[in-house]
């Protein structure tokens, strides 16, 4: 990775330098003030950098060399499913017939786009055991929000206005309670039992006629499948609540078990996790939301329908929660997921989950002698360790993560889930080879040894990266959020 400091683009600016990308004006050169009153016009020029094309290309190339992607190496970031992103999917999403299509073109000129949306809905419904999907949500958290709106709309449609609470496990992702709050629910937390699943008695105690639903990730954020899912579904449904499936960990169960068959009423998937669309450094993602039959009328509008050889948008949906985003969602991301599903097929998708689970268990067994394993049972697609043994030597999980950077790895997710002290969560995904896993395992063992004997190495890490540990407290205490010309 590039270590040399890269100036900010503004510091590279040279007055008078420019590119020349646009043609000269070929219509009347009317004075601007004759078209727009002076009082609306900017005085002076906008403050943007003045650069040549090569300056821009070098600058952003240098920045890219300070970044680490899945193509750079192993990225076992738990709960994020950083699998390899097939190149063919990138290529086909850039076809003119997808990329250069306007969202308001007449339906008959976008039949290919509509067919793709319609079929992706069918595929995702089949994979999850749901009846219908909306591809409008732009991200996982956006899908959660849409799903919770649907739950609220459903209860209110039934005249059930008392249901104002959503139950969320203490092991849940932060977005779960935040999404519930964002749609006006009160959040109630249910604790986990000693096997990492939901404490059934605690759940029973929480149930009453104010509970709108339960949000669950299964396998949960400990990477464990909740064996009591049947009972949980029964308890929630008997009390009149609905079951929400957070699909963050769906990579463990594709072709093996379906949320719809587990009793879930609403599901969101992350196409940027399970269906291999790249994360883009933090987006764009796509978080489709799927529902069981009784909730279909509440889906965001429009939905794509098919009739007599023609695909069309159905906007006439009086019970719909409404629109949650402009147009139809992150379409070009959906294109990649559609291509991924077709390239794998039913058998291939099942093999994804099998290999993902095998890889995680392999790491778990190989490392559990060296790092504390708080829940020693078969895991699913990810495994949560605790750095508490290393803590005895004054080494934190953060130190371990930073030391991994020196060895050329992206570290696992750290300090999550919150219910495990010094947690680190390893999700290898199915796209890693045994050789990669073995190398990682050996590195982790080496780091465990260093923690015992050479703690300084961990405290000082990383040293082989473009920058060393950064002062996050300073950044938050006296925020500098943009470049100011000095």
């Amino acid at each position: 990775m590039l270590k040399k400091e890269e100036n900010l683009i503004f510091e590279l600016s040279v007055p008078g330098r420019s590119t020349n990308l646009l043609p000269e004006c070929d219509v009347d050169e009317t004075e601007i003030s004759e078209m727009i009153p002076l009082s609306f016009l900017r005085e002076g020029e906008i403050d943007l950098p003045e650069l040549g094309e090569v300056d821009v290309v070098r600058h952003f190339t240098h920045l890219s060399q300070k970044n680490y992607g899945v193509d750079s190496g192993f990225y076992p970031l738990g709960s994020c499913t950083m699998k390899y992103n097939p190149k063919i999917n990138e290529e086909v999403s850039k076809l003119d017939g997808f990329m250069k299509v306007h969202p308001y073109q007449p339906e008959k000129t976008v039949q290919g786009c509509l067919e793709l949306l319609y079929k992706t809905d069918k595929f995702l419904s089949e994979i999850t055991g749901m009846d219908r999907f909306s591809l409008q949500p732009a991200a996982g958290a956006h899908g959660e929000m849409a799903g919770l709106m649907i739950i609220k709309a459903y209860h209110e449609h039934n005249g059930d206005y008392k249901r104002t609470k959503i139950i969320v496990p203490d092991s849940a992702h932060g977005t779960n309670p935040a999404s519930a709050a964002a749609v006006g629910f009160n959040v109630v937390e249910v604790k986990s039992n000693d096997r990492g699943g939901i404490d059934i008695d605690a759940l029973k105690d929480l149930m009453d006629d104010e509970i709108a639903g339960l949000m669950l990730t299964n396998p949960n954020t400990l990477g464990l499948f909740d064996e009591n899912i049947d009972i949980i579904a029964q308890i929630v449904h008997e009390a009149g609540g609905l079951l929400y499936y957070d699909g963050a960990n769906a990579n463990a169960i594709i072709g093996i078990s379906r949320p719809g068959d587990m009793g879930f009423d609403v599901v969101h998937l992350n196409l940027h996790k399970t269906f291999s669309t790249p994360h883009g450094g933090g987006g764009p993602g796509s978080g489709p939301v799927g529902v069981k039959r009784q909730l279909v009328p509440f889906l965001p509008k429009p939905v794509v329908e098919y009739d007599n050889g023609r695909y069309y948008f159905d906007n006439d949906r009086p019970l719909s929660i409404g629109k949650i985003k402009s147009f139809y969602g992150n379409f070009l991301v959906v294109v990649k997921a559609y291509a991924y599903i077709l390239s794998l097929g039913a058998e291939g998708l099942k093999k994804v989950s099998e290999a993902a689970v095998l890889n995680a268990n392999y790491i778990k067994e190989k490392l559990k002698k060296y790092f504390h394993l708080p829940y020693d049972r078969t895991c699913m697609h990810e495994v949560v360790f605790s750095g508490q043994w290393q803590k005895e030597y004054g080494v934190s999980t953060l130190d371990i993560a930073k030391r991994l950077l020196d060895f050329g790895y992206h570290p696992p997710t750290i300090y999550f889930p919150l219910i495990v002290r010094e947690a680190f969560m390893v999700e290898p995904t199915e796209t890693e080879s045994k050789e990669t896993l073995d190398e990682f395992i050996n590195t982790m063992i080496e780091i465990a040894n260093e923690a015992e004997k050479e703690t300084e190495k961990l405290h000082n890490a990383p040293l082989n990266t473009p920058v060393q540990r950064l002062d996050e407290a300073k950044a938050a205490r006296s925020p500098v959020l943009k470049y100011e010309r000095r």
């Binding site: 400091e5 900010l8 683009i9 503004f10 420019s18 219509v27 009153p37 016009l41 900017r42 906008i46 403050d47 943007l48 650069l51 094309e53 970044n67 992607g69 899945v70 970031l77 063919i88 017939g97 997808f98 250069k100 306007h102 308001y104 290919g112 786009c113 067919e115 089949e126 732009a138 991200a139 956006h142 932060g174 999404s179 709050a181 964002a182 064996e227 049947d230 790249p278 883009g280 450094g281 933090g282 987006g283 629109k323 147009f327 969602g329 991301v333 291509a339 077709l342 039913a346 058998e347 291939g348 689970v357 095998l358 067994e365 045994k434 950064l470 950044a475 500098v480 959020l481 470049y483």
Partner: protein, 446 residues
């Protein structure tokens, strides 16, 4: 196709090391009752070659803007995307990376976002920008909630000239959050200031306005700001960032929060997404902003570096007390915007804005000269304008489509009050010849 590199033999070896007899054993925690008994009903598996052919066939069922000349806008615009943008975005270090949680190996993404934030502040005239949101419509909805939290009031007023889809999204968000959304009418294609003065009250957290608005018309931000501020309400302005190369920065004429659709900055129309919403605000609202924010700091050796900051606003720390449930931004789209603004630069952006403005005015003049339209109003406009067509808009567009022109948008569905409303957008990509051809085909249609 398969992207799994481990061989069957290796998998057997791994199972033996684990002490498991088969892969099925690893799924023993899943009760039999919820295990899938059949194979999924999914077609495939396709080879890469078959997939490529299938996708080309599907894409071929759509007509695209390289083959047809486009005069559609209405929130998604066919601006020129410099080759540099597409090229740099395809670097894997950017597009296959995760959210920059590990700053030591994410300085590329982080510095680019810091530069993005600086550019957005400079365009909008605001103090702080976040790292981007899902799109312009959701950014407007987030700004509405932010204003309610900041003012401890519960009602927002949206001007009717805001994009109908944005108003729908704001309506969905506000409905579920228990906020009240009111609509202020329009006069001459822009906000009716008298009606705004009558509506605004002690509960009004913010006035939401879009400029240039859905009709392309430029709103009088300054006067709206005065009305809002007199009532201690905030002003939220949604704007087209390219227009800001010519127009006054909303921050300089009274906006408290500025949002907008960033698609125009180097992102393809892509059948509606992914785009990016930008959001910038006055300093006092920094800690109320949703989404990621990047800040400058130093590393242990004193070297300048960048980190995600002010995270105590966010869901992974604050859970249900977070300012928003937003987790991701639209990092790659924001990167496209940053590269676009860098390569266009001060002069290029202004040129894109001036060309769009001049060509739109040329198209307006020529279309009016046909005698087949009347103006919907006479407010000044930027790159888009609303006309009233005297004939049948659907037939007109059908005629144009047969001649490889994608005509303007019929607005009847959204604004029945302008019967025959025809919204035409012209970017710098349309040549005089394109516009003249549109005009002559419009004449031949009647």
């Amino acid at each position: 196709m398969s992207y799994i590199p481990t061989t069957d033999e290796q998998q057997q070896k791994m199972l033996a090391d684990i002490g498991a007899g088969s892969i099925d054993e690893l799924f023993a925690d899943i009760p039999e009752s919820v295990k899938l008994k059949n194979k999924l009903n999914i077609p495939g598996a396709m080879s890469e070659m078959e997939l490529a052919a299938h996708m080309r066939e599907l894409a071929g069922k759509n007509i695209n803007l390289d083959e047809f000349t486009c005069f559609l806008g209405a929130g998604a615009y066919d601006h020129y995307i410099p080759s540099v943008v597409t090229n740099l975005l395809s670097r894997q270090e950017f597009y296959t990376a995760y959210t920059p949680y590990q700053p030591e190996i994410s300085q590329g993404t982080l510095q680019a976002i810091f530069e993005y934030q600086t550019m957005i502040c400079s365009l909008t005239g605001m103090d702080v920008s976040n790292a981007s949101l899902y799109d312009g419509a959701t950014a407007l909805a987030e700004a509405a909630s932010m204003a309610c939290e900041a003012t401890r009031r519960n009602e927002v007023i949206a001007i009717r000239s805001i994009h109908p889809e944005s108003r729908e999204v704001v309506s969905t968000y506000t409905k579920f959050k228990g906020m009240t959304l009111k609509e202020c009418g329009i006069k001459n294609g822009v906000a009716d200031l008298n009606s705004l003065k009558e509506m605004i009250n002690g509960n009004t957290a913010a006035v939401l306005v879009q400029s240039p608005n859905f009709f392309g018309a430029i709103e009088n931000i300054k006067e709206i700001a005065e009305i809002a501020h007199e009532n201690k309400s905030l002003l939220v302005v949604s704007c087209d960032p390219i227009s800001l190369a010519l127009l006054k920065a909303p921050g300089d004429i009274g906006a408290d929060i500025v949002v907008g659709e960033g698609q125009v900055l180097g992102n393809p129309v892509g059948f509606g997404g992914p785009y990016l919403g930008f959001m910038a605000a006055k300093k006092e609202f920094t800690r109320r902003m949703p989404g990621r924010i990047v800040g400058e700091t130093v590393d242990r050796s004193g070297k300048r570096g960048y980190v995600l900051t002010l995270q105590t606003r966010e869901q992974h720390i604050r859970r249900e007390k977070a300012t928003s449930n937003i987790c991701s931004n639209q990092a790659l789209n924001a990167l496209a915007a940053t590269i676009y603004l860098s390569v266009m630069g001060k002069k290029g952006l202004k040129k894109a804005a001036e060309l769009s403005l001049r060509k739109a005015h040329y198209a307006y003049k020529k279309l009016m000269e046909t005698g087949l339209f009347s103006p919907a109003f006479d407010s000044p406009f930027f790159k888009e304008f609303l006309l009233i067509y005297h004939g049948d808009v659907e037939k007109l567009n059908e005629h144009l489509l047969e001649r490889k022109i994608i005509g303007g948008l019929s607005t009847d569905k959204y604004y029945p009050e302008f019967r025959g409303g025809y919204l035409v957008a012209v970017t710098e990509k349309r040549t005089k010849e394109d516009i003249d051809r549109l005009v002559s085909e419009v004449i031949s249609a009647c």
